[in-house]
């Protein structure tokens, strides 16, 4: 379990805005640029790691009750996405590292992956 603010420090990332929700903890993460897959596989209270920047990223994460979002590869969310993240009070981190490196560091720090295959699958 890690707080979003601890993840910010670990990655040398920058918060987009201050919110008490940065002190929430996450145990699981999902990294994807495909929101279709995020909608299918993300666990509630998990962390979204993505390089896409449109408003639907915020919609997707909040719909799934995810705890926070990290934008990797130095991507900055579009203005309307920033506004919606503030409105819905979901913490957002901006990270200069690649998705691979971000995931590697978080995995090393003990975060777990959202399971991709359910029991019914092969």
């Amino acid at each position: 379990m890690m707080k979003i603010s601890e993840i910010e420090a670990l990655l040398g990332a920058r918060r987009l805005f201050d919110t008490a929700a940065l002190e929430k903890e996450v145990e699981y993460a999902l990294a994807s640029d495909l929101m279709s897959d995020v909608l299918a596989f993300a666990l509630a209270a998990s962390l979204l790691i993505t390089g896409l920047t449109n408003i639907q990223i915020i919609r997707t994460a909040t719909m799934l009750d995810m705890t926070g979002i990290i934008f990797v590869r130095n991507k900055r969310p579009l203005e309307e996405a920033v506004a919606l993240a503030r409105k819905l009070d979901i913490p957002v981190l901006l990270c200069k590292k690649s998705m691979f490196e971000t995931c590697g560091l978080l995995y090393q720090a003990g975060l777990k992956s959202c399971t991709i295959l359910d029991e019914e699958s092969d």
């Binding site: 640029d33 495909l34 929101m35 279709s36 897959d37 995020v38 909608l39 299918a40 509630a44 993505t50 896409l52 449109n54 408003i55 639907q56 990223i57 919609r59 997707t60 909040t62 719909m63 799934l64 009750d65 309307e80 819905l88």
Partner: protein
């Protein structure tokens, strides 16, 4: 809650800024009614996926939320082109979405399967040229 609560909202075609507003609104409504978080979350996923389908494929339409004592019902209606092969559309990975939708992170062919996964009952009435009506039911207590 004796009378069912009914909400109905219009969904505009190809408006990717507004897409998801219906789902956000419906989810807030369910939360404000005090429904369990897992039910709110499942319903939100169903509404959002159905809403994106209306935005992308349906040429706009109507989303309806009904809340009764034992269940939540989500209805999505559009007058779009309809689904030619429903069995195929229910398969994970099959998609007829254009490239610009994929660039937004959607259109991976997970929508309908994901709606099915998150609902207890799913009915889809569709035919080429006739539009699509989707009805998904989520029971508050599955043991009933």
């Amino acid at each position: 809650m004796s009378e069912p609560l009914v909400l109905e909202l219009q969904v505009k075609p190809l408006d990717f800024l507004a897409a998801g507003e219906t789902a956000t609104h419906f989810k807030e409504t369910l939360k404000s009614l005090g429904l369990p978080p897992d039910i709110c979350r499942k319903a939100a996923i169903v509404v959002y996926e159905a809403e994106m389908n209306i935005v992308i494929h349906g040429g706009g339409g109507v989303m309806c939320l009904q809340v009764e004592e034992d269940k939540v019902t989500i209805i999505a209606k559009d007058k779009g082109p309809g689904i030619e092969d429903l069995e195929l559309a229910m398969k994970e990975g099959y998609s007829s979405a254009p490239d610009f939708i994929r660039e937004l992170g959607f259109g991976a062919g997970m929508g309908l399967p994901n709606i099915k996964k998150n609902s207890d009952e799913l009915y889809i009435d569709t035919a080429p040229g006739k539009g699509t009506k989707l009805r998904a039911v989520i029971y508050l207590d599955k043991r009933r």
